[in-house]
């Protein structure tokens, strides 16, 4: 939930701060709206364009591939280069807290009095909403952000009311073919929980605090999941050809779902697409 924002502390807009509510302490907002934004997070890029702040964005990182018309550069969001960022003369930089040496970059930008928004990887959809809200306030697109959030909430509620299923159904979410998975603790995992599915990776939750354990082949066969969600370029055929997998319920009933790339790892407005993909798979 905690978002760090460092801005020009001299220009505080009290009215804006009042709206920020409990988060106001850690917040400050520039009086001039930013017109040269650099987004080093693919999710934040999607947020900015969705709320209507797209024209204010001058550069995005090399993984920001959505929407199509983003000003994509070779800036790295994972391993940001301070000088390369400064060269763009930005007036707002969005950086992921997981980026390497993000703290150092943030303090260097502070020294140049360039406002920075540090994005912490959200663990829930609510946290994703609050990021959209933050970005709305920072860019002056408060109503745009509100519209996006309301629309997302409405769409997700609609999907869930019609798409919720029997909680006895088990799922396996495959991150790669060495069988890394995501537990219900993760952002992705919570989406499945919303549908009432049981995640077989939860049994291994103690093995990985981050929520991404590597499961044993034999355990997956034993758990006999009803749905398999793939994000790694595998397919029903390749999964079926693995020894012992042909008898798994999801494979037998052809409920092996290839999720669109990127979507399960972005927490922007396209979360809705993820819900749609899961709902579609459950209805099959």
């Amino acid at each position: 939930m905690k978002k760090k924002f460092t801005a020009l502390p001299i220009f505080l807009v009290l009215a804006l701060c009042a709206q920020l509510g409990p988060m106001a302490e850690s917040f400050a907002s520039p009086i001039k709206l930013p017109k040269r934004i650099i987004s080093l997070s693919p999710s934040a890029t999607e947020d900015l364009f969705a709320i209507g702040a797209g024209p204010q964005v001058i550069a995005v990182d090399d993984y920001s591939n959505f929407p199509k018309n983003t000003p994509k550069t070779n800036l790295s969001g994972f391993n940001p280069n301070f000088e390369a960022i400064v060269k763009f003369r930005p007036d707002l930089v969005i950086i992921q807290s997981s980026a390497s040496k993000s703290d150092a970059i943030v303090s260097q930008l502070k020294r140049l009095k360039i406002p920075v928004y540090v994005e912490h990887t959200p663990e829930t959809v609510a946290q994703a909403y609050s990021e959209i809200n933050d970005l709305g306030m920072l860019t002056g697109k408060i109503s745009g952000a509100k519209n996006v959030i309301d629309k997302m909430k409405k769409q997700i509620t609609t999907i869930l009311t019609s798409g919720k299923i029997n909680s006895q159904n088990k799922l396996f979410h495959e991150l790669d073919n060495t069988l890394y998975s995501a537990t219900s603790k993760t952002f992705v995992g919570k989406v499945y929980t919303d549908f009432g599915l049981t995640n077989i990776a939860d049994a291994a939750a103690t093995a990985d605090d981050g929520g991404y354990p590597q499961l044993q082949n034999e355990y997956i066969i034993k758990s006999n999941p009803d749905y398999i969600f793939l994000t790694d370029g595998e397919s029903l055929e390749s999964v079926k050809s693995r020894p012992g997998w042909a008898g798994i319920s999801a494979v037998v009933n052809q409920k092996v779902v290839i999720l669109p790339e990127d979507i399960p790892s972005r927490w922007g407005p396209r979360i809705v697409d993820f819900y749609i993909a899961v709902a579609k798979a459950l209805k099959k």
């Binding site: 993984y63 790295s76 994972f78 391993n79 991150l175 790669d176 073919n177 060495t178 069988l179 890394y180 049994a203 291994a204 103690t206 093995a207 990985d208 354990p213 590597q214 499961l215 044993q216 082949n217 034999e218 355990y219 066969i221 034993k222 758990s223 790694d232 370029g233 595998e234 390749s238 020894p243 012992g244 008898g247």
Partner: protein
């Protein structure tokens, strides 16, 4: 002074093959393999396991049978193969380079394989099962060959080969790091591969690794009698009727084939190549050539047990096997070293 010490040691070595030790290590491997096959998330009774393995009809369900024969057994076999390959190649490298710290990855094989695997991950995210071992194998072999050609003086001085191996290794690691930075999406798979894994074990991997490992073993078997002469200076070796230069090349090539196969099959698994040869030599007080079969067998048991740990300690999740080999291997190794030293002091 140094010379006479070595000669004395050489004369101390038992001159006959210690068959008891080989038999004991073989039994040890059989026991570890049975133990490893008996445990897993799916509970199978020991009698039905043994019956299924022997091909006797029993009440085991089709699914359990598939799991046993196509998931568990190949994994245990692959662990045994990789363990024996790494332990043997470590032992051979230690003789060839007259260096007790030599390990199978010394000549840049690890870095080369790592680079090969990284290139495979970057070039395609789809269905790597087929191409990953080929890339890793090619990477390891090319790196070792490069070390050979760069160190022109290898025939005269093995230490120049070690140095060029280090240089080639650093070079390959640099490219690998660069590629990883350019393609952050592959960080997790590469990292997981570097820590070593037997999760992808299938019969086809078992088949081709058996093929290459058998070839190396056959070659090493024929030269094993002369291998210990490499521990002496080249002049002494010549006087014993051994051509150390030719022998060294044959030994390094077969050991590299072992390493490359192991790496291609299971990623980088550390510590086996150092711990096991010293352990076996420490226990048997025998020289490398006499101990090679035992070293291979103990290496196999060691990795089978380590993999059992990797599968069961955090079940139903997995631990990277490299973590287990180092965690268990390092203290055990220190214990053997200390005991050996104390033994020498009391002589």
């Amino acid at each position: 002074m140094k010379l006479s010490h070595k000669k004395k040691e050489h004369n101390d070595f038992p001159t006959v093959w210690r068959w008891e030790i080989t038999v004991i290590s073989a039994l040890c491997l059989l026991f570890s393999a049975l133990l490893a096959v008996s445990f897993g998330p799916i509970h199978l009774s020991f009698t039905s396991i043994v019956k299924t393995l022997l091909g006797i009809e029993n009440s085991i369900s089709t699914q359990d049978r598939t799991v046993l024969l196509y998931v568990r057994v190949p994994r245990v076999l692959l662990a045994a193969l990789v363990g024996s390959a790494l332990a043997t190649s470590g032992a051979v490298y230690q003789s060839v380079f007259r260096n007790p710290l030599a390990d199978p990855y010394l000549l840049g094989a690890a870095a080369g394989a790592g680079l090969g695997a990284t290139i495979a991950f970057t070039s395609s995210t789809h269905n790597l099962t087929g191409i990953l071992p080929i890339f890793a194998f090619a990477g390891a072999t090319i790196a070792v060959l490069a070390s050979f050609f760069i160190s022109g003086r290898f025939f005269a001085d093995p230490s120049s080969l070690v140095l060029s191996g280090i240089a080639v290794g650093s070079f390959a690691t640099a490219i690998q790091t660069y590629l990883q930075q350019r393609h952050t999406a592959i960080l997790r798979p590469v990292y997981s591969w570097i820590l070593g894994e037997l999760t992808a074990a299938t019969w086809s991997i078992v088949a081709w690794s058996t093929f290459y490992i058998s070839i190396s073993f056959l070659v090493l078997r024929t030269i094993s009698k002369r291998l210990d002469a490499l521990m002496l200076s080249d002049e002494e070796a010549f006087s014993l009727g051994v051509n150390p230069r030719k022998l060294r090349i044959i030994a390094v090539v077969s050991a590299t084939l072992l390493t490359a196969t192991a790496v291609a099959a299971s990623g980088l698994i550390g510590f086996v190549g150092i711990v096991v040869p010293h352990l076996v030599r420490g226990i048997t007080h025998s020289s490398t050539n006499r101990a090679l079969p035992s070293i291979a067998l103990v290496g196999a048991s060691f990795l089978v047990i380590a993999d059992l740990g990797a599968r069961t300690l955090v079940s139903p999740a997995e631990l990277p096997i490299g973590v287990i080999t180092a965690f268990v291997g390092a203290p055990f190794f220190l214990y053997v070293l200390r005991r050996k030293r104390m033994g020498h002091n009391s002589d």
